[in-house]
């Protein structure tokens, strides 16, 4: 059994929380005491049935306002798979929280209200999905019960969405007509839409290929911690502990340590009390090298035959996440895996109007703005381009005055 991480996107009243509540409810994932709390709540649907959205709105302010402010993580499992859902807010002012939820997901559910079709928010959310490189997209045309389960309404909407998907280069898009409120095509196939021959949402989620294994040759492991017991019997023990970001390291592989460029060979791969022949993407392991090279936290061990970029000038997409606007005159910190370096934003190339997808020149970046910049780092980062390697092609910006995470970066090119 493996894990599928997905998130839901949609505008405020498209029914994201209801859809998640319905998934949990219809898979029997809600326990009796939680159900009791639901039933005793004052929030009810118009027809008196329980409001499933309450299940995900965990904060007092959210319940008061009836909206989702921050990401909530929900868990359920079926016989086939475990699921981690990031329930993200749809409001434009919480774009940064949506990016937070989306950054670890490998599938996006985009909700479209059948009555309204493709609207500005749909474009915005789809753009974010494309920007963050989410592999699979499921477009749920929701509230089909409100349009008499009409196949022509559904067809009109998906025809329009297909144009958008092409424009955004979304590759794997699936369309499902649903009613989260009534439960059509969420877990059980709908009896109200015999014209739809596809699967229910849950069945699709159960079988979509998560492809957790990174098949790329880009073997990368940032060193997080050097294990040196320095006891009598383990006097010379020196293990480099970290999580393999991508690719595979094997015994006797030739490796290079960046940024120093020192080369060596993998002598041993350990995991607690086991010795492994190889360490695949996702594994947290300890690597030993044949040569005594100087390695510390922040260095990256990479395969000698497929090395990452090395440049101190990087073109990147930036999502600005702080109330205080970007200041190109000050230094920020960039955190790329276990490496932290000083940096500056040396140039703003353009900003994107995320409702129309138009690019335009800009000299400022404010909360929730997205666009492209050139970043200049003090120290060399061993990075890949985001499209090639999501894990090693992303970084965060930290404002050293407030210590807040102020930006999300996706590397697009090394500037020569």
């Amino acid at each position: 059994m493996n894990i599928l991480k997905f998130f839901t996107a949609g505008s405020v009243d498209d029914g994201k929380s209801t859809l998640i509540g319905r998934l949990l409810y219809d898979t029997d994932s809600i326990l009796a005491d939680q159900l009791e709390a639901l039933q005793s709540s004052n929030r009810k649907n118009d027809d008196g049935t329980i409001d499933l959205a309450i299940l995900t709105d965990g904060l007092r302010a959210e319940r008061e306002q009836g909206i989702t402010i921050d990401v909530a993580y929900k868990y359920f499992q079926t016989e086939k798979r475990k699921f981690i859902i990031a329930d993200t807010p749809g409001h434009i002012q919480y774009t940064r929280n949506m990016v937070t939820g989306a950054s670890t997901a490998n599938l996006a559910i985009i909700l479209v209200d059948a009555r309204n079709g493709v609207v500005e928010q749909t474009i915005r959310h789809s753009y974010l999905v494309s920007l963050l490189g989410i592999k699979h997209v499921v477009v749920c045309i929701n509230k089909m019960d409100m349009v008499d389960y009409s196949d022509s309404v559904y067809t009109t909407i998906i025809d329009k969405y297909k144009v958008l998907a092409q424009q955004l280069k979304l590759k794997d898009v699936t369309y499902i007509p649903v009613s989260a409120l009534k439960g059509d095509n969420i877990v059980l196939p709908s009896i109200n839409m015999d014209w739809y021959n596809g699967e229910s949402l849950l069945h699709f989620l159960e079988k979509v290929d998560t492809d957790n294994l990174d098949k790329s040759q880009l073997a990368r492991m940032p060193v997080q911690w050097v294990i040196r017991p320095q006891t009598d019997e383990l006097h010379d023990y020196r293990g480099y502990a970290g999580r393999v970001l991508s690719g595979t390291f094997k015994l006797n592989d030739k490796i290079v340590v960046l940024p120093s460029g020192a080369s060596s060979t993998i002598e041993k791969i350990e995991f607690f009390d086991q010795t492994l022949d190889s360490a695949h993407s996702g594994r947290s392991v300890t690597i030993h090298l044949k040569d005594n090279v100087d390695i510390s936290r922040g260095d990256t061990i990479v395969n000698a035959t497929a090395q990452p970029q090395d440049s101190k000038l990087i073109e990147a997409d930036l999502c600005w996440m702080d109330g205080r606007a970007l200041d190109t005159s000050i230094m920020y910190l960039i955190q790329h895996n276990s490496k932290i370096s000083k940096c500056k934003i040396s140039e703003i190339l353009h900003k994107v109007d995320i409702n129309t997808l138009e690019k335009h020149a800009a000299d400022e970046f404010k909360l929730n703005d997205i666009g492209r910049v050139i970043i200049k780092t003090a120290e060399t980062l061993a990075f890949d381009l985001y499209d090639d390697n999501r894990a090693n092609g992303s970084a965060i910006l930290i404002d050293s005055r407030t210590n807040l995470t102020v930006g999300a970066l996706m590397f697009r090119a090394a500037v020569e």
Partner: protein, 301 residues
């Protein structure tokens, strides 16, 4: 599709180890908060996997309410001796003796709320900048909102509206002096995941998790262990029951469940069939819909 075995427990484990190593790498004085419950016992195993054959880069810290199950305290001492790591105990009794907190009175008196003060004092005394805890997002809906690196101000308060974005697997541990970060490496685990992991790893647990005979009284519809720590009166009738505990906390606020489960396999099938959440056995969550959120804002773990 996979040519090697890397299942969901391996994935959750690898993520938790990654988080523990980030704590080691990013903070000066971290600590692992150890309650003697299954979640913090799991954290200890994960720390062994993250740092052996080296020492843990942090001590274990137990906030002792003084009203613990004796079995838990015995387990703690035995485990600390086995792993050879440092244990720091923060005592609620001392906080009471020093006049920093006042013992609650009345039928439902508990020391559960008092431990927040002892925790914050212990953090201040040892200047911990990061505290690793075993909280999981599936436990409660306010916890479902929390980041893995959760920044607390100098008063220990959590402000859910001002949480930092947390992106990819990059954790920002930068803080100002006086602040600290609560770190939750098993955020993404469910109760069942923890049990399956304990079974797979053959991790020993305190005996109160398994079915045993115990004197109990019924309080607010819950079975509570009869003990000198519970304010009992003539209305309370002591009955001998076959019970076990699903979570381990202060004796005055942790309810037992009737159970015949004597093995981990029994417990796993019992939980799989259960229709009551784990937190259903915690009196402290029943106060209001926002009970946990409010306690967390006040500095509770």
């Amino acid at each position: 599709m996979s040519t090697y075995n890397f299942d969901y427990l391996d994935e959750l484990e690898a993520e938790a180890i990654h988080i523990l190593r980030e704590v080691a790498g990013q903070f000066e004085k971290p600590a692992l908060l150890f309650s003697g419950g299954k979640d913090s016992i799991t954290l200890v195993r994960l720390a062994e996997k993250a740092f052996r054959p080296g020492k843990f880069p942090f001590p274990l810290v137990h906030i002792d309410t003084g009203h613990n199950f004796q079995e838990t305290v015995d387990y703690r001492d035995k485990m600390v001796a086995r792993i050879g790591e440092k244990l720091i105990v923060g005592s609620v009794q001392e906080s009471i003796d020093e006049g920093k907190v006042v013992e609650q009175t009345g039928r439902n008196a508990s020391r559960n709320a008092l431990q927040t003060v002892t925790l914050l004092d212990t953090i201040a005394k040892y200047e911990f900048d990061a505290c690793i805890g075993g909280a999981r997002r599936d436990e409660e809906k306010a916890r479902a909102k929390e980041r893995i690196f959760s920044v607390r101000d100098e008063f220990g308060s959590w402000d859910p509206k001002r949480q930092r974005p947390e992106l990819w697997n990059i954790y920002n541990g930068k803080i100002h002096k006086g602040e600290n970060v609560r770190v939750f490496p098993i955020s993404n685990w469910t109760e069942l995941d923890v049990w399956n992991y304990i079974r797979r790893e053959k991790i020993e647990l305190p005996s109160i998790y398994f079915s045993h005979q115990r004197d109990c009284i019924t309080r607010n519809g819950q079975l509570m262990a009869a003990s000198p720590f519970l304010n009992m009166d003539n209305e309370d009738v002591i009955v001998r029951k076959q019970v076990r505990f699903r979570t381990v906390g202060d004796m005055s606020c942790t309810a037992a469940v009737e159970s015949e489960a004597t093995l981990i396999d029994d417990i796993i099938s019992e939980i799989s069939d259960s229709k009551i959440s784990e937190r259903g056995a915690r009196m402290d969550d029943k106060v209001s819909e926002a009970a946990m959120e409010d306690r967390k804002k006040g500095g509770y773990f």
